[in-house]
């Protein structure tokens, strides 16, 4: 074992975010001069601080509330200016196309008429909301908050893996990770031209004002959370504070005469914009799931009457579906007449006969994903799967091919990561966050998730993932 942070580090055959990039040389050198013992001690202190600050998610078991932190790795993931500039343009392009697609789907449906997207893929999708047909959305901004999952392959090429256009989470960790790094490792960050992540709350509240019903001069904005039992509750608290708005639950709101009010100490107070962190189908028991206790009865009536704005809009889930994802390069070309700035991962749509046949023939080399799942659930990684797992996957594919896509198994880039007192390569991805009101703004960097298990390609926090601070250089 070496004496300094990077002494024992070997990325093997993978693309390394730290070593393969000349722009990170200064940070690399600083790490190479830092004793590993000191680094480990400070990293542990940083994790303890996250715990005490309550930057945690809560696991409930037998009336006991146990707080856990999202594991934090103190070696930052660095993005030089020119790489970031491309990602930023790519994300803006992608969000723009998603919004144009949604506006078209819920109004003219030109894309069906031009035969670019199979109609049943959309109209038969569980996230299609026919109630949204013809509903006017301010600035046609359906996806006000978007998280775009981007990976980097073994040649160093960035590719979009997934769009998250419903209620993407993780941005609170981007900002808290930065605070943690600046507290625990100020010497690493000094004078390297680090771009700030402090503007997120201001930009978000700005966009919420832009989408408010036009008649309301000084709109009242709230953040609607499912409450303390939700695993993203910390993030809801964080965002409400960053925006300076009340954090409400469904029981704090009510609808009267198609207007939304919150219950306050002084009686009712009108609400104009709701940044909701509750999925469509739980928002209003009158319009969607009647058993939902998280939502607000009559909210959809107020929404359709134009008396309240919701972010994201209702029905965005139809656009970030994994099946629609496969069409995104064509969708971008269709609406914007340009090529995708960041490529997709090559995707086989198993509802198509040829693609299904190819997938079944190459199951041991492909990653198979169900289209309706999130959080890394239900994925079969061919090269890592056992015979029994492959057989099970094959059976599911044959049974319901339209529910699956397949992609080549990509060796994600790695980043040096502190594991039990030594530094080893671990696979990472990147989720930049884009805010859209009148226009689109992208937070510099985004959430770098890291698969902490050796060899694992699954970065999701529900599957043993952690996170790193993402440093965009000026």
């Amino acid at each position: 074992m070496g004496d300094f942070v990077l002494d024992s580090y070997d990325p093997g055959g993978f693309y390394c975010e730290m070593l393969r990039c000349p722009a990170t040389a200064e940070i690399h050198d600083r790490l190479a001069r830092m004793p590993i013992d000191e680094f480990t001690r400070r990293a542990h202190g940083a994790e303890q601080a996250l715990y005490n600050l309550g930057i945690t998610f809560t696991v409930y078991s037998d009336s006991q509330a146990i707080d856990r932190i999202l594991p934090f790795d103190a070696i930052p993931r660095v993005l030089p200016a020119e790489e970031w500039e491309r990602i930023e343009r790519g994300v803006v392009q992608r969000v723009t196309a998603l919004n144009l697609l949604l506006d078209d789907l819920y109004h003219e449906q030109k894309i069906f008429k031009d035969g670019l997207l199979p109609q049943d893929l959309i109209l038969g999708n569980p996230n299609w909301r026919p109630q949204m047909r013809g509903v006017k959305i301010p600035h046609k901004a359906y996806v006000n908050i978007c998280g775009t999952d981007i990976i980097r392959d073994d040649k160093g090429i960035f590719r979009v893996l997934e769009d998250n256009a419903r209620t993407p989470s993780g941005v609170s960790y981007v900002i808290e990770n930065r605070h943690t790094m600046l507290r625990s490792f100020p010497d690493l960050a000094d004078d390297i031209g680090l771009r700030s992540v402090e503007d997120y709350g201001i930009k978000l509240v700005g966009a919420m004002r832009e989408i408010a019903p036009p008649a309301r001069d000084d709109p009242v904005i709230v953040l609607l959370s499912p409450g303390t039992y939700n695993s993203a509750y910390f993030e809801h608290v964080f965002l409400a504070r960053e925006m300076g708005v009340p954090l409400v639950e469904g029981r704090d709101l009510f609808v009267d005469n198609d207007r939304v009010y919150m219950r306050t100490t002084a009686g009712r107070a009108r609400v104009d914009v709701i940044y909701r962190r509750i999925n469509d189908d739980f928002l209003d028991p009158e319009a969607f799931r009647p058993e939902s206790a998280l939502g607000v009865k009559g909210l959809m009536r107020a929404y359709f009457a134009g008396n309240v704005a919701l972010a994201n809009a209702i029905g965005t889930g139809v656009a970030d579906d994994k099946a629609v994802y496969a069409y995104m390069p064509r969708i971008i070309r269709y609406y914007l007449a340009e090529d995708a700035i960041i490529d997709n991962v090559e995707t086989n749509i198993c509802r198509e006969k040829a693609a299904l046949a190819y997938t079944l023939d190459n199951l041991d080399r492909l990653v198979v994903k169900p289209v309706g799942e999130a959080g890394g659930y239900g994925i079969t990684i061919g090269p890592r799967a056992s015979r029994a797992e492959l057989d099970e996957c094959r059976a599911k594919l044959i049974d319901d091919p339209a529910n699956y896509i397949s992609q080549p198994c990509i060796n994600l880039s790695v980043s040096p990561t502190l594991i039990d007192g030594r530094v080893e390569p671990r696979h990472v991805d990147l989720r930049p966050f884009a805010i859209t009101g009148e226009s689109t703004w992208v937070l510099p960097g985004g959430l770098t998730r890291v698969a902490l298990r050796r060899g694992s390609l699954v970065v999701n926090s529900s599957q043993g993932g952690g996170s790193k601070d993402t440093w965009v250089l000026e």
Binding site: A65, P246, L247, R251, T265, A266
Partner: protein, 343 residues
């Protein structure tokens, strides 16, 4: 003047958060004093009085056969199943704070979080004689740290008023409970002026952090009724019932005048009446009608105030008629309340 609305749920949450922390502190005080100073005439500490003080006789006897030091201390310090334990109070305070995290300061949350984790880690050895006192002091300090952090970091908007309401209503209630418990002990004593009961009253003053203030006020005259008068009516002692009720009254007035809140007129009216009774009543009059009866009256009255706060500010269903307009509820103070209501 601020027009930022405050969610009714937040107002209620911060009210109870304040009460729970205040409660935990007072519990630590009374256990500590019991451990250190309170002995009966044969020199044995009487642990049952803490159980009486919290009206927990029934719940306690379900779990423990004897009210000895070991059982009582566990019941009130570390027993998470007992809703009146210190651990439950801080655990509830923390869950309230979790729901209020966008309202309270990060430092307030952090203190409760770290404090709660400390309580969870209490080792059995720390409850043994000789270790208990430092532990109780640490608990008291943990609560006071929270109070200090709140004072120094909590934004002075509506929520601050609800925080103060909770803190002072709880404190007034706790002071009356302390007083009541010792009064019972005294009643069992035939010789009221004996040395043991003097020790009991001193312990009571210490539990309320009032010993030195009382000494400075009454250098030579330590009589039970002076102690009772001090705890009930002293206008400057921070834990006296009168001072706490004045703070509660000021908070309600502040809320109504600064935040344009229409509700709560009946609360203000009820508080005026209570203040007036505390202002004008002499200790001799109280003793004549019975100290316990007076204390019981204050406790029930504060509870009625809490109900009305719920209806006025927390979105609870309306209460039919203010309890203090119902003379039959308040013997022997009905006459006072009637007079007030007419005036």
């Amino acid at each position: 003047m601020s027009n930022a609305p405050l969610l009714a749920r937040y107002a209620e949450g911060i009210f109870w958060l304040a009460r729970q922390v205040e409660r935990a502190e007072n519990l630590a005080r009374s256990i500590e004093v019991q451990e250190t100073y309170a002995r009966n005439r044969s020199g044995v500490r009487d642990w049952s009085s803490i159980v009486q003080l919290n009206s927990d006789e029934e719940a306690f006897s379900e779990k423990h056969a004897a009210a000895n030091a070991r059982n009582v201390i566990r019941f009130y310090v570390t027993d998470g199943d007992n809703p009146t334990s210190i651990k439950s109070a801080i655990s509830n305070a923390r869950e309230n704070a979790r729901a209020l995290r966008s309202l309270v300061s990060t430092e307030m949350w952090m203190q409760l979080n770290v404090f709660y984790n400390r309580l969870n880690a209490i080792d059995d050895k720390e409850l043994a004689p000789g270790s208990l006192s430092p532990l109780l002091n640490e608990i008291k300090l943990g609560c006071q740290t929270f109070t200090g952090i709140t004072e120094g970091t909590f934004y002075r908007d509506q929520a601050w008023y609800f925080y103060r309401l909770g803190r002072y209503i709880e404190r007034a209630d706790q002071t009356t409970r302390l007083l009541d418990s010792k009064y019972y002990v005294l009643l069992r004593d035939t010789d009221v002026a004996n040395v043991v009961s003097t020790g009991q009253w001193l312990a009571l003053l210490r539990a309320a952090s009032g010993y030195h203030a009382f000494r400075a006020l009454h250098q030579s005259d330590l009589t039970p009724w002076r102690v009772a008068a001090f705890l009930l009516f002293n206008p400057t002692f921070p834990r006296s019932v009168l001072l706490c009720v004045k703070e509660v009254d000021a908070s309600v007035t502040g809320l109504k005048s600064r935040y344009n809140i229409r509700g709560g007129n009946d609360v203000a009216e009820g508080l005026d009446q209570l203040r007036s009774i505390l202002d004008t009543r002499s200790i001799d009059e109280v003793l004549e009608t019975g100290l316990h009866e007076f204390i019981d009256f204050i406790q029930r009255y504060l509870s009625a105030i809490t109900d009305r706060l719920g209806a006025a500010f927390f979105g609870h269903p309306p209460v039919e008629k203010a309890a203090w307009q119902d003379a039959e509820l308040w013997p022997p103070y009905a006459a006072d309340l009637q007079t007030q209501a007419q005036a």
